[in-house]
Every structure is written in structure tokens, then in C-alpha cells.
Symmetry: C2
Subunit: 719 residues, 2 copies
């Protein structure tokens, strides 16, 4: 450190007295210099000024942020030095950091590390992390930025990698070139397990999609990639021991072992563990295509094309099953270095077990009263195999049984209460309930879900420690390589913040501001959550005029896919893994930013007793555009079957525009609209709330508020 330019400049300024404070962190320095300290805590979104504001850019919000006044200029002389402990991963990490910085500023940078004494950013890592990354390693870091330079210190490379991401988020265009604001950050994660699960079984996830999502995870400081690799619809990993698994169960879409190793190395470079999941004893039809002898009913089997819960399950009573699993898990335990091995364990409907006489006999002979207990028996045998191969078993809620050893970990899709119950019994767990990205919830709803709230709020500190964190889940019934990014991002960033940042960071407005920011940055990394929308919309429209295309966009910006599990129930025909995903419902984001902003505008207008003239004008413009949009869209609907599917929603949007204008007119008169009008409008609104073409018209509730306001309430009290 003594050799850094940063340090020397500091020394000039304040002398020997600061050395100790500098070593620890920069707070005393700024304090002594009388800099105004602003404790941001991520909640204060100040109006942007000339210097970039850290609070608008940081997601997840760090544990502690103290902003200074000035900024560190980033120009072509920018350089990085690695002091202290180093390793190839850090060197690669710095090179990637510099490439990314060059890309986000378009300033040519020298990618080679600098001598410490001359570097703009000096990194000091204390020691190595574990060779195989473990849960709960020290991921903390400190980042100090002043006008003269920056310093990043961390106990391990994991913290260093996180700190580099924070620095990248800080750098933005300013009134005077690209710059990072002066800031002192102390940061560490709230939970050690911050995961994203991708289901590569229902639709295969190409490797470039995996890689760019790992890049996104790194940007959000997530540290576990949970890879759902087998399910009824596909077995996605090459087994050399049992090659018929991938040969018969994957339609040729699987990862070779070399590819798996590449993904693991790619993740490791980014401080991300890879936890493989092989779902058993249910969700396993694809195994049985090549190995029907594992199943509880005779074959032959075919890879499943439909969605849902199906009957096939492994036979837990045959020794052959365990012999197979011993060899298979042995092979996979070598391929996947992580300490955890996910065995799935969810949604066994038991029908094959019920129908199999030998299984029924086995249960009687062994005093196994029901299928739940039979699955517990299977899991105990499985756990022994997993442990034999040096791994710790993790599975979904259903694997929880008091007869299993405390070493297992529960991933809860059922909820906080289920997770808390496990913790009370001494089991570790992670939360996924509330984090299912495929259900189409708004980011704010995921954001409000805390692993330690609800049913887990009353746990003792000891029990709380067993809750390791959480995982967002991207189940892949309705995602493919084209739209998967838009189903994960940017909403996943809200979950990443929930799992990293202090519990009291929970203002949705702040989160959404920062979500807008990171959504742009993630596209720069190669994610396609925004661009895929345009691509798909162009396909839907076909050859068209700019005006027609704009009309389609105006409509689809206000649409979202139906939520939760409604998509199955409302499908025009039974969807399968071969159904094209080229419809509007596949293209529009799961959360419409435009609709959110419209709802905010309505709230703002009503919040001023409908007096805000600017808001009124904007609402009127919006409603007028909606009212007039449908005639412009209809020619396109005649030409494209994919547009025709949303033609009714287009009429609905026009109707909503007309209704909104009527409400504004009534409000302008300051005379409550007649009850009959209100009744009529609300009845129409109930109709508009219904899904059509599996799409919801998002602005309906906000317009409902305006109709209510037009019929009475605070807006009418003002004359």
C-alpha cells in the first residue's frame, strides 16, 4: 500500500495521523477534513447534479455508504494494480473489469495491470478463499473513492470481485467526463446463499445464455447458480457411465462434461458456486427413456412434452435403483465440485407406487405406512449415497423428515413457515417461495419477501442462522433462449438486493429507480431482456410501417402475461415443449415499466386532489393516444395472426382511453359524476380486468381509481 499513488497523495494532505484510519477505512479521513457526510442507506434518492450520485446507481445497496463531494475522473489513464494476495482469478477479474469499464465508457484502456504506485485503483486482497468455494466465506469488501484515486480492500477474492462490480456501478457520465463519485463503502452480504435457479430441463438453455446470466449474477453479487438439469422433459448432462440418460432423454440437447466444466470455471471466476440438481424420485421421466428399470412401472417411456406433475417415479424398493444412483452420483460428484448436491424430491404423486404390487408388499414388510414415509426411506438411502461421495444433500421441502440427519438443507418452495419449521428442527434452509420468476409477479412483490419475515420472524438467532438465504427460480415451461433473459431480468435484481442488502433497505420506489439503472447496464453485459422484446415484436408485426409498429408497441407496453399458474389454465391449446413461443404473451415483459409509471402518475394526480395540471395534461395525452390507437393497429391485425390475437385487447385499451377521458372531464367540472355512470364504468372495468389472449391490461386498476375519483371523494371536495 505504501507504494500507491493514492496513499502518497493522502499522506501529503493529512500526514501521519491518518495512516491507521486509512488502513481500516476512510471514514476518519473524510470526517477530519470536515467533508459533509451523508448517510445514504440507499433510500435517499437525491436529484441528480453534476457529479454522479452513488445512491442512484448501487444495487444491491451496500451495508454502509458515505458519499463525498467530489469525484474520481475515469479517463484513458485509468489503471488498476493488484497488491497483496493475488491469483489468476483476480488477474482475470481485473482484466474483465477493465474491459467492461472500457466498454461502458468507450474509452480505450490499457488492460494490463499497473504498478501499484501508479494505479488509479489499488486493490489489496488479504488471502485466498477456499479452493472450492463454500457457503459463508467472507465476501466483504471496502471501497474508498476520492478524487485522487480509489482503493479496494477485501479479505478474500470473493470480496474483491464484489467490490469491482460496485466500482463499475459507480462510474457514470458526469458534467466533466466519466467519473466515480467520492464515496466510502463498507459492504458485506446479509445472507451467504444468494442464488438463481435456471431450469434447463423443460427448455434447453444454450451455453451462451447460461454465461450471460452468470455475468448478470456477478453484477448483482449473487453467488449460487442452481442448475436444474433433469426433469420429465429432458436429461441435460452427459453421463459417461450411463450414456442412455442423455442419448435417449435429451433430444440431443445436453451439456457435455467439458461444457459443464467450462460453465463451472466461468462461474468460479465470478465468485459463483454451481449446485447441480437431478430431480428424483419424481420429475424423472427422461431418465426412464434410457433406463426404464429405474421406474416404478414398466416402460417403455418417452420424454415428456407436456407440463405438469406426472406419475413416473423411481422405484425406491429396488436395490438396483440405489446401485445405479451410487454410480451416477459418484460420477456427478466428481464433475460438480460444489459441496452441495441437489436431489430435487418435489411433487411425487405416488400413483406408480400405489399401483405397484411389489412396492406395496415392500411397504407392508418394512412397516412403511404411506408414500410420504416411503419417500423419506428413499431420501435416507439417497442421503447416505450423497454423503458417501463427499457431498451435502439439498432438496425441496418434501425431503424434510425428522428421521433424516441434520446435514441436509431444505429449499422451500412452500413458504417461510415451512422453512422456519425446518430451522426449528435444526435443518438449514433457503427460501424460494416468493422468488419464482416465472409467476410474473412485480419486482416489488418479490422484494417484499424476506427469508426472515413472516413465518420465520420469530426464530431464535440460532435458528435464523440456519436460514442461509434464498434463490430465485426460473422454471422454463414458457421460456426459451430468446425470452428467458426478459423473464429473469431486471426483476431478479430486486431479489438479489433482498438477499444481499440490510433488512431495512426496502423502499420499492428506490428499488425501482435502481432497477431501471441496472436494466440498462445488464443489456450492456450482453443480456437481452430489452432487445428481445423488440426483436419479437418485429416478428409479430412482420413487414409494417413505423406508424403501425408504434401502435402495436403502444398496446403491448400496457400488457402483461397472466400471473401465477393461470397460463396453463387459459391456454388455447395444451402447450408443450414444442409449442412456438412467438406470441405477444411470450414477448411482453412480465412487469410493464410503462404501466407502473402510468399507475404512479394517476396516484400523483389524485394525491394532489386532481389539481396537478401537468399530471392532468399527461394523463389526457395518454388516454387520447390509447383511444386513437386501435384504428391504427387494426390493419396490422388483419395481416398478422399474432397481432390479431391481441386485437380485442387493443379495443379494450381504446375503451380504457375513452373512459379515462370521461373521468378527467368529470373531474375538471368538479361535480361528481352520476351514480349510474359510475356503476356502468365499474361494470365495464370488471370486464376489462379479465385476461384475453392470456394477457392482462395493466392500467385498468389505475383508471378505476380515476373513475372513483370522478364520482366523488377528495377531488370533488375542491372547487
Amino acid at each position: 500500500m505504501a507504494e500507491s499513488r493514492f496513499f502518497l497523495i493522502l499522506k501529503e494532505g493529512i500526514g501521519q495521523i491518518m495512516v491507521q484510519g486509512f488502513v481500516q477505512n476512510f471514514v476518519p479521513y473524510f470526517a477530519l477534513r470536515g467533508f459533509p457526510l451523508i448517510l445514504l442507506c440507499g433510500l435517499l434518492i437525491s436529484k441528480p447534479t453534476g457529479a454522479p450520485q452513488p445512491a442512484r446507481n448501487l444495487i444491491p445497496v451496500p451495508s454502509s455508504v458515505q458519499a463525498g463531494k467530489g469525484s474520481l475522473r475515469v479517463d484513458s489513464s485509468f489503471s488498476v494494480a493488484l497488491a497483496g494476495y493475488t491469483e489468476p482469478r483476480l488477474e482475470l477479474g481485473v482484466e474483465r473489469f477493465l474491459q467492461q469499464l472500457a466498454s461502458q465508457t468507450s474509452i480505450p484502456l490499457n488492460l494490463k495491470p499497473a504498478q501499484s504506485g501508479r494505479a488509479t485503483l489499488v486493490i489489496r486482497t488479504d488471502h485466498a478463499s477456499r479452493e472450492i468455494q463454500e457457503v459463508g466465506e467472507d465476501e466483504s469488501y471496502s471501497l474508498e473513492v476520492i478524487a485522487a484515486g480509489a482503493k479496494l480492500t477485501a479479505p478474500t477474492p470473493l470480496g474483491t470481485l464484489h467490490g469491482l462490480q460496485t466500482f463499475l456501478q459507480l462510474v457514470d457520465v458526469s458534467s466533466d467526463g466519466f467519473a466515480a463519485p467520492e464515496v466510502t463503502i463498507q459492504d458485506r452480504p446479509r445472507f451467504p446463499w444468494r442464488g438463481l435457479m435456471i431450469d434447463s430441463a423443460r427448455h434447453f438453455t444454450p451455453l451462451d445464455v447460461i454465461r450471460r446470466n452468470l455475468d448478470g449474477m456477478e453484477a448483482l453479487k449473487m453467488d449460487v447458480f442452481h442448475w436444474h438439469l433433469s426433469d420429465n422433459q429432458g436429461f441435460r448432462v452427459e453421463s459417461k457411465r450411463f450414456p442412455k440418460l442423455q442419448e435417449r432423454g435429451s433430444d440431443g440437447l445436453y451439456y457435455t462434461q467439458d461444457e459443464v466444466r467450462d460453465v463451472i470455471a466461468y462461474a468460479h471466476d465470478r465468485g459463483i458456486r454451481v449446485v447441480p440438481e437431478f430431480d428424483m424420485p419424481g420429475h424423472s421421466t427422461s431418465w426412464f427413456v434410457g433406463y426404464p428399470e429405474l421406474a416404478s412401472a414398466p416402460g417403455p417411456y418417452e420424454t415428456e412434452r407436456r407440463w405438469g406433475v406426472f406419475d413416473p417415479a423411481m422405484d425406491p424398493t429396488k436395490e438396483g435403483t440405489y446401485k445405479f444412483l451410487d454410480q451416477f452420483i459418484g460420477e456427478m460428484a466428481t464433475l460438480f465440485p460444489d459441496q452441495f448436491f441437489h436431489v430435487g424430491g418435489d411433487e411425487v404423486n405416488g400413483k406408480q407406487w400405489d399401483a405397484n404390487k411389489e412396492i406395496q408388499e415392500f411397504m407392508r414388510a418394512h412397516g412403511i405406512p404411506n408414500n410420504r414415509t416411503l419417500q423419506a426411506y428413499f431420501n435416507k438411502r439417497l442421503q447416505a449415497i450423497v454423503e458417501k461421495h463427499g457431498k451435502s444433500m439439498i432438496g425441496w421441502d418434501e425431503i424434510l423428515d425428522p428421521t433424516l440427519p441434520k446435514d441436509i438443507t431444505i429449499q422451500s418452495w412452500r413458504g417461510q413457515a415451512s422453512l422456519a419449521a425446518a430451522a426449528r428442527e435444526g435443518y438449514r434452509g433457503i427460501l424460494s417461495n416468493g422468488y419464482y420468476l416465472d409467476l410474473g409477479w412485480p419486482a416489488s412483490r418479490h422484494y417484499a419477501m424476506d427469508p426472515l419475515s413472516g413465518g420465520a420472524a420469530n426464530l431464535s438467532p440460532e435458528e435464523q442462522k440456519r436460514i442461509l438465504g434464498g434463490e430465485s427460480c426460473m422454471w422454463a415451461e414458457y421460456v426459451d433462449a430468446e425470452n428467458i433473459d426478459s423473464r429473469i431480468w431486471p426483476r431478479n435484481a430486486a431479489i438479489a438486493e433482498r438477499l444481499w442488502s440490510p433488512a431495512d433497505i426496502r423502499d420499492p420506489a428506490s428499488m425501482y429507480t435502481r432497477l431501471d439503472f441496472i436494466a440498462t447496464r445488464l443489456e450492456w453485459l450482453g443480456l437481452t431482456h430489452r432487445t428481445s422484446y423488440w426483436r419479437m415484436l418485429h416478428r409479430i408485426a412482420g413487414v409494417t410501417t413505423p406508424e403501425e409498429f408504434a401502435a402495436l408497441d403502444t398496446l403491448t407496453q400496457q400488457l402483461e402475461p397472466v400471473k401465477d399458474y393461470t397460463r396453463e389454465r387459459t391456454a388455447p391449446a395444451e402447450p408443450t415443449s414444442l409449442t412456438p413461443m412467438n406470441r405477444v404473451v411470450d414477448a411482453v415483459p412480465l412487469e410493464s415499466a410503462a404501466a407502473r409509471r402510468f399507475a404512479e402518475l394517476v396516484d400523483q394526480f389524485i394525491g394532489t386532489s386532481c389539481l396537478d395540471a401537468d399530471a392532468r395534461a399527461r394523463l389526457r395525452a395518454q388516454f387520447t393516444a390509447w383511444r386513437d390507437n386501435d384504428p391504427r393497429l387494426q390493419p396490422l391485425a388483419e395481416r398478422s395472426f399474432l397481432v390479431r390475437e391481441v386485437a380485442e385487447r387493443s379495443q379494450d385499451l381504446s375503451a380504457l382511453g375513452t373512459m379515462g377521458l370521461a373521468a378527467l372531464d368529470a373531474i375538471a367540472k368538479r361535480q361528481p359524476a352520476p351514480v349510474s355512470w359510475k356503476t356502468q364504468q365499474l361494470a365495464a372495468i370488471e370486464q376489462l380486468k379479465k385476461q384475453k389472449a392470456q394477457l392482462l391490461l395493466l392500467p385498468v386498476p389505475a383508471v378505476e381509481k380515476l373513475v372513483e375519483a370522478a364520482a366523488g371523494g377528495t377531488c370533488m371536495a375542491v372547487k
Copy 2:
């Protein structure tokens, strides 16, 4: 053919009589069936109806297009069979075709070839093309699409590849699923040499950029990738014989020989020849960094960072120069299989020759009167070396000298007259004058430039044949990996059409319609000409609100970079190869589609004597938006130095909006505005026409027309 489903269905319909016609083309079939034949010739842009319309989708326009009434549905059963001659390139081509078709429809397709009898598209290729693709091979094809299937026939794989691209362009969304319209196409190129030159010397072009541009070229049926590989600013190919060329002359940014071979194979798969250019004896500073002994003045040399014409030139009087070139060209002649070897030859300013006493003495001794003759001497020696290594020499205008053998080919950057002169003397040539993409011309201007018009119009048929075609040129002073696509595309598609389609295909309105279409499709292929604009605009804005960002977009949509060579002259500081290219001038397209549409709208309005109420309303909305835009942009200009650079242009746009509204008001009164008003407005307009921040405000001339109209003319004649 007899085994194809297509054929069988045809036979059912019309019997034996049609077999011969079918073999040749489908015209008789449609004629006999009484189908209404529409000779489209690419000029007729009919209003879109339920069935996709070929004329809107085909670029370049084929030699002959006859449209039917129905369409061929493209669904998951779509398949392709290769009949007749086949080879790995065709099999790969079909697989890429199916992947692309699957991608553009999002319909899962079986990528394996089908048996001919069952295929939707049956391909019959007659025979192989030359192992090393040559100029003037048969690239023709016939494509017949009816509701029951399609047939593509071609003499060689080159035609087959072109036909597959035509089919991809035909497939679009329809009222009844994805479909290709019934059509009969006979197609062949007008010119055999249809090239794109990319300058990888001034800014290095990463391999993925090369590849995606080759994809774009394939889509437009271009067949020559001219790779400008050395210049003052960089030497970009690995030489094993002279490794200091790339080691000292490239800043580490060069292509290994393996990478070059990969690019050549990639191009070959797409029917594209790769012609390497090593520019000499000038434009060669980068050679001299490692090998100063080649130069005409003593070193040491450094790779040039600036733009322009510089003094360093090879010494044409030393035998060592030719010994070096013999070995170097020998090595490169093996690496690059194409018959043509480009030696550059342009812009030798002769200063080093003039200043070198030994060169002057050599000239006296050999009776060489001037530098032009000295360069001819160099070129004769060079041509002998190129020929010795089995290649045909091509170079820029300056290599033309009557003492050189007729085997050389001239690439004309000077113009059609220069090209015609060469052709009259018996030399072959290609046109690049008029096709310089970096000059920022509108597509229509490139489109109007015909290799056989202007100075070449009076050539004899024999002489005309010597004009092989043309090449667009992407000189790279102001392009990098991020914005190069937006400098090449979509305008390059207009040049591709000029070089492929019949000479009478020249309606700019039709071209622009199809340019809009292909611009979308090219993005689907991975080109980034549109997305890079958004990426760069987000960088320019930094953290921002959607409203501010929209204000920036509203402004920048009406801006274009200065044209021709004005950029050098207007630069705020001398630009170099290290200057960041992150300014608005780097981000906005070289041709603004929004500004073009605005100008069309103004013409349409004035064309109706200013009576078109819809056009008037749209103009008023546009002007109002411009007038009100500046206040919304200014906060961003305070925060971002990159936005601040265009703050004045924003005020200009507001002024233009105000002026446009005043003109509309005057027109509405149907009373000519006072002369003083007109004078004042026109003076203001002259100011607005000037560049600021190296940007032109595109709508100014159209507003000028409105001001003129407001002050008199046809619009005032109407009451």
C-alpha cells in the same frame, strides 16, 4: 425431382404437359392455370394484404418475379431436401437456413435434411462451383413457391445459397401463420463482383464483427469481402516469415493465420470470396515499425495514430524491398486462396522519394521522370511478384499505367470516368467511388450511382464487360466494434441491390421500404446497427429518467454526422485512433430514418397544396414536440458532458419547431406571410443549416420549404 411432393402435386394438377416448363421455370404453370400474373419488377409496392407480398420483402430485387395468389405455410413440419449435386457447404447451408428460419419464426424445426419425397423445400443443385470461388461463376437460381411446396434449382451451390436467402426474405407472418407467398423467381446478378471493403487497419475489427458482417453480406447476396489489412495505423495479419510486422505494427491487435483461415472458411460457406489488401508503397508506416529498411527515409518509425495522408513510403529503388515483398506475398498468397491480391497503391505523396538522394539518383539513372512513373515502375515489379505467386493484382486508381499488363484490375475511388478510361484501355475494374460508406451519404445517393452510368455510359459492350461490379468501402477512422454496423447497415443494402438487380430497378421509395424491412432482419442475424444506437445513447445520458431519455432521443433522431470529409475539418481536437468514440456524432445513424420520413411528410403536405388535414396535424404535433423538447433535455445537458455538447442543437430544434408552427399558422390563414418574416426566417434557417458539434440538423431544408410555402406559392393560391 420426380420424388418430390411438390412435383407430385404439380403433376396431379396439370399433367405431363407441364413437366418441361416446370424443369425450366414455373411461368407456364401459372399461366395455364389462369393465375393473375403480376409483374412486380420490384417497383410496385402494393398495400399489404393477408398474404405476404414478395415485393416488400425482396432486396436485392430479383431479375424476374412473378407473384401468385396463395402462400406456402411454414410450420413445424417444414423440411428441406437436397437433391442433385451436394457437398458439405450445401448441407451446412441448409442447416443454417433452417436455424435461421426457426429463429425468424420461433417455430422449432428439425434441422436434419429430409428425404426429397417429403420435403417442403426441395433443392436441386446441378454441379459444383470452382473449389476456389472465381469471379463470374454462375450464381443464378430459380425459386418456385406454391401452396404445396417450394423448389429451388441452381447450376451451382452459389446460386443455391442465394436462393435460400431469397426464401428467408419471403417468409413472413401472415393472417394465417407464417408463410411464403406463391411466387416464381428467376434470378442472377447483374455484376459478378459485389463487394464490401472493411478497413481493419485504422481501427481493429474483432472477429465477431467480421463474422456478423459476412452474415449480412450473405443476406444481401454480396460475394466479395475486401479486407483492408494494413495501413499507416496498423498491420493486422500474422506473418510467420516477418513476425515484426504484427508484433511491432499492431498494438497486439492482429489476426492470427488460423483466424484468417477461419474467416475465409466462414466466407466461403456463404459464397463470399475474401480479397486481402496490403496497401503499398504508401499507407505503410506500420510495416516500417518492425522493418524500417523498407522505407524511403531512415527510421525509427512508430505506428501512426492520426488520420490523413502521410509521407512514409516503401523504397522502390532497393532490391531488398522486392526480396521482402516476394517472400511476404508468397506467404500471404498461400494464406489467402483468392485469385486476386490487392496491393493498394493509393495516395503516395512522394515526399520521402523527393527527399532521398539515392532514389533521385536511381530515377535519373533509369530515366524515370517523376514519382508517378516511379510508382508505375514499383507496380510493374510488384505485379511480377504477385503473378509469380499465382495471383492477379488489383489496386486503387493510381496503379493504372499503360505500361502495366492488362491482367491488373483497377478499383476506382476517383469515379466512373476513371474506371471507364481503364476499361477503354483494356483493364478490368470495379467501382468504389460513390460507395464510400464513411462519407455519410443517404442510401438513395449511393443507390443512384451505377457502375455503368456517368462516364461509363458510353462504353462499348466489350468494354462494359470489363467493369466487374463495385465495392462499398467502410473506412475506419470513425468506427469501432460498437458503431461499425450502424455505419455499414442498412445503407450497404442499397449498394448491394445496385450491384445485383437489373439496372432499371432504381426507385428510391421502393428501395427505402425494403431497406426498412432488411434493417430489421439484419438485426435478427446479429448485426447491431440499431441496438448500438440505444446502447450508446444510454451511455451518453447516464442515469436518467425515461422522460429525459426520450427528450434526448427526440433530438438525436433528427441529427446526422457531418458529411464527406468535414469531420476532420470540424474536429474540436485532432482525432486519433485512441480518441473515444462515445459522442452523439458517433452514436447517431449516418442517415436518419425519422428525418427522411419527416421530409416526406412535408412534401406530401405541400403536394396537396397544404390541404391534407392529417399531414397538417402530424406536422403540428411534430413541431410542438420539438419546440417543447429543449427544456426537458437541459437538465440532462447539465449532468452529462456528452449531452451538453448537443445542447445548442437542442435549442436549434426548438427554434425549428417554433418556426414550423409559425409557417403552419400562416398557411392556415391562406394569406402569404410578410416578406420581412420570410427574410428573417430564411436567415435563421441558414444559421441552422450549419454544423454544430459536428452534427447536422436534418429537418432544416424541409422546414425551409414550409416557410417558402407560407410566404407564397401553391398553398396560398387555395382559399
